[in-house]
Assembly symmetry: C2
Amino acid sequence: MNSRPPTIYDVARTAGVSKSLVSLVLRGSPSVSEARRAAVLAAVEQLGYRPSQAAAALAGATTRTIGVVIDDYRNLWFVELLRGLQEGLASHGLRIAVADHTLNAHVEAHPLDGFLSMRVDGLVIATEPTGAMRVPEGLPVVVAGHREGLVPGADVVANDDRLGARLAMEHLTDLGHRRIGHLTGGGGAARLRAEGFAESMVAAGLEPRTVPGRGATTEEDGYAAAVRLLDTAPETTAVFAANDTMAMGALAAAGERGLRVPQDLSVVGYDDSPIASTHLLRLTTVDSRNAEIGEVAAERLVARIGGSRGTGAAVLLEPELVVRGSTAAPRSTG
Amino acid sequence: MNSRPPTIYDVARTAGVSKSLVSLVLRGSPSVSEARRAAVLAAVEQLGYRPSQAAAALAGATTRTIGVVIDDYRNLWFVELLRGLQEGLASHGLRIAVADHTLNAHVEAHPLDGFLSMRVDGLVIATEPTGAMRVPEGLPVVVAGHREGLVPGADVVANDDRLGARLAMEHLTDLGHRRIGHLTGGGGAARLRAEGFAESMVAAGLEPRTVPGRGATTEEDGYAAAVRLLDTAPETTAVFAANDTMAMGALAAAGERGLRVPQDLSVVGYDDSPIASTHLLRLTTVDSRNAEIGEVAAERLVARIGGSRGTGAAVLLEPELVVRGSTAAPRSTG
DNA sequence: GCCCACGATTGGAGCGCTCCAACGAGCGTA
DNA sequence: TACGCTCGTTGGAGCGCTCCAATCGTGGGC
């Protein structure tokens, strides 16, 4: 019933050339006559031939694909990262394969097993790296968006979370806010942002008040943390959340308490994720420049695939404040 | 510098057995003695051996992976679908590979090329199928979440959008709403939901008013459509949106006009996506049961891989209304 | 004590490609 | 005319597995 897919030999036969010539055409060799190239391409089209990735990978030394490990499809920050990566890799003929860490946890013991079996040419880890992430020596790896370097020898590309937090705080203090709370969550990035928050507050002579959610950085966590903050410190005029999703929860908590945003309460997020720019949130946030992070990560990867020895260097991009409608001067200044 | 990864021969040598025995152990053959199995597993561990997927795929007839084509990572409806698929496939030793249609459009001419090159054992199309999606005869394919069967021979698993729309409308009319508007978008599902809306309205003796966004189904589309609706028909007391994202835009439009939800305006979405259950939206919506769709799709795929001839049958799951905080009786009934 | 059957183990062939060394044909040059 | 070159093209080897037929070893039945 299912005739096996055509092979390179089938193409060669119908084009009247050797299998080697077909291979040359497919890989874009310049030393093929126009006539033969056309004949081969026609045969490919006619037969609906698709080269077998498996055979190509086995025969060649390389798969021309980069594995990207993300945390969870629901955290949309990876979308822009992927776009940047794509852009940087496509010109080098490299493709991307994405794996979701939480989803795959059920099926694979070791989080990178799938990609290692696939013999990817490089790896982008867009997750909080764990100790279980042992990587074969010599495999180019870059950790993107996270700073804790648990992967030995990996390059690191991220935004400067501490600086981003300071940008957010400057914005709020410039507006005149003095009683500012921070909603923090789990993970390294959240910790750095919390540190940046505390530093800024102390530098401004203000008392830093940091409230955790329930361990993670979801909307629910943001809501829970904001409820706690607003109930225990009702004099608060501004909230800085560890990310946009938590900020969304804060908006909900504010609404429930009859606080209007931004008139009664200013809210700042982090990441500039797609929800931040919606009409409903119009969230002032810090752009962590994930597309650029992807581009730099691609660059690093390509360099290391090209043979340059990786040194485990870290690149920190400067985040940028994005002012939207969720921040304003406090009602009663002073 | 980079010593090539160990092969099955390396494992065989250090375990003191033949490569065939290693292969048997790896694939869980019952007819291997405990002693040898232990020796092989120890060697695998010691060498950090990972079987080459490429070689396995080439040698075996099958890759044991199912390709899933999704539209756009930002449309989160696929997350639950993936979970259901995973669940249904894992027990059969099948893994999942995900490709994003919009992202890959740049790198591949044909949307399925990557998966066909990979020689996936089956395909789940979780996108509006296009004519360009030619699939080799005999490859098990199921279209998930969409009803327009442009893929010949494919099974279809989706929710009954028309029924879902009717459920939403019943809910609103039961609450006493009479002046109800519908925000519609592009795509087959949106069309079916719009039809269900119109049917329900006509059946109830009401005038159906349907407003398109800007061609798609984003938050922006929902906002634009809602603005148009509320400005041209301010007597509207309830809005039914083609999906949750559009409903989010509607909430924004309502807020801008000083309409409180649900007191002044009820809003119903569709999909029960993760944003619907947030504290900020508390959106009444229709659960399209995407996890179950995934499970049924997995079942179909497994059956067809197992040899049963596909007939292009369609399975329609019954959607369920999820009532949250965005709907209530209209202010002035009648 | 011998033979057979069956479970455990093995080597060989081959999957569809890429890479490489080698080939033939035409050209310019001596 | 003979030679070396280059360009375009070719066949063969081999990548690391799976599958299969063949082999080995051992215990039970007679």
